[in-house]
Symmetry: C2
Subunit: 309 residues, 2 copies
């Protein structure tokens, strides 16, 4: 049985104001899953390369759960063997569990004749996500599978649309070594929002949508503003407002939290500025005695895909 | 001094979920303003053709106020004479006052050498709107000037973007003879919205934005859903839910309130269905002893413009 190899990109959930709605895939960071058919009717994970300890029990691993879901949908009576190589830390707000789930769903579908479309792979991958996060949300799985920026109009029934991309968008990702639990990041959110803030976040999210639909950085540059989720979650990231202020002083057009954090990201359309922004953000975390990992990246418009060995 | 003639289209504020953010210009309904320079340093309204009584005092009429604002911005020491022909009822939720203001602003700018861009005309027209509504919102003036669907990210400072159009969108407008005061329609709104409804309205508004940016009716067809403003304002329109139900039964893909009402509008991409939808809506209002005016129309992608005499 031949092995195939699939890559899934890291993703930025929410894209600022678009809580649970918008998502974006980014380059140079992601998970790789290798897969091959096996005769036994099961999903077997035989190898995981990861800095964190992850379960090889397929029923407890998002990759394993997504693969099993695809086999079930396709009514396949045999199984699949998976090897997982994590390319990013989990719990960082970059869609780590979504990436493994998407790569495994894609790989399993591929070795069994590619019967499901990319859109159809979002459902099994999101079910796997639900296992780890407790919530059925596609704001990481949708961009991870489809690439570019995506819009989840509804999770039940799943209704996802690829919006597009912005060619000259530079993204400065900084992941501080802070633990933020997704559950805690959800519990800290307000239950009610006032009318004015609702209109503000909606307007900015609509402009982000227009920016990606029209490939227009200038629209995105003025719309990365969030009055609802960022003020709550900033409390979980030590030094957040100082890092943001210094990113903006260094020339960024906006900076906010990726997904439930602790990763933050800043935007610019000028690659020469990106290094200065990155440096300012890292130094500010350092001043708070927080180590951080950083990466200058751009939109991954392809999403989950087959790669060469 | 030569007369010129300007047309401004009717507009649908909110486009369903996009309260205070989205707006849309429609064809076959609008106001006409004729204008010419005069030597006296003032705005004079010498004729109003309208089914309603409107003040010819330029300081109390949106057309007069918008014209004066334009003269002030251009630092013109002479004046302008205006004749107004109302093409739609006021207080109907179709941006009647915005249309007069936009046409007068455009006309005044035109007779004085067209120094302001279309975008720059939105500010004086919106100031005139503020006089009648008490609120500074561009969700009618922006689409009225620019045409198509527009997005107001912020009113102060004014930040407006033209999103685009949907070529095969049929709009069934029905204006029942019910009085809805804009102030009452604002006061009835909730002060707080719950998180789930905020996400719902935002997601649908983002999809409407994507639909107009991509000229894709199918996206619009599933996103005309509002859980925040419609449930409150529906109480001001007798028979609303029955009219909506019958519009949907007749084949509409959605129906909601235009601006602060009482006009409602339904959507389809099939012109042959539009007559049935219109008939169903009119008959339902009739059953409640409410007379109604109706029109089948489409997107006006031009906005405010010079017309031939």
């Amino acid at each position: 049985m031949t092995w195939i190899k699939v890559f899934s990109p890291a993703t930025i959930g929410n894209i600022g104001p678009g809580f649970d709605v918008l998502g974006l895939a980014v380059k140079h960071l992601g998970d790789v899953v290798e897969a091959r058919k096996i005769d036994k009717p099961e999903v077997v994970i035989t190898d995981i390369q990861s800095p964190m300890t992850l379960s090889k029990n397929a029923a407890e691993n998002t990759a394993g759960i997504a693969a099993a879901e695809v086999l079930r949908i396709l009514k396949i009576k045999t199984g699949v063997e998976l090897k997982i190589k994590k390319g990013m830390p989990s719990g960082s707000g970059l869609g780590s569990s979504a990436a493994s789930a998407c790569a495994a769903a894609y790989a399993t579908n591929y070795v069994y004749g590619n019967q499901l479309s990319q859109e159809e792979l979002i459902l099994p991958a999101t079910k796997a996500e639900e296992f780890v996060s407790g919530d059925f949300f596609a704001d990481n799985t949708a961009p991870c599978i489809l690439g570019g920026a995506t819009l989840t109009r509804s999770s039940l029934p799943l209704d996802v649309t690829k919006i597009g991309s912005i060619a000259n968008l530079c993204i400065v990702l900084v992941t501080p070594e802070i633990v933020v639990l997704t559950k805690e990041a959800r519990d800290i959110l307000p239950k009610q929002v006032n009318m004015r803030d609702f209109v503000f976040n909606m307007a900015n999210s609509c402009l982000i949508t227009a920016a990606f639909a029209k490939n227009d950085y200038s629209l995105f540059a003025r719309s990365l503003n969030d009055k609802i989720v960022e003020p709550a979650r900033a409390n979980l990231i030590k030094g957040f407002y100082e890092v943001k202020q210094n990113a903006l002083l260094a020339g960024a057009d906006g900076m906010t939290i990726s997904g439930s954090g602790p990763t933050v990201f800043a935007i610019t359309d000028q690659p020469q500025k990106a290094r200065f922004i990155e440096d300012a953000m890292l130094r500010t975390f350092q001043r708070h005695d927080i180590k951080a990992f950083s990466l200058i990246t751009e939109v991954d418009n392809e999403g989950t895909r087959l790669v060469e060995f």
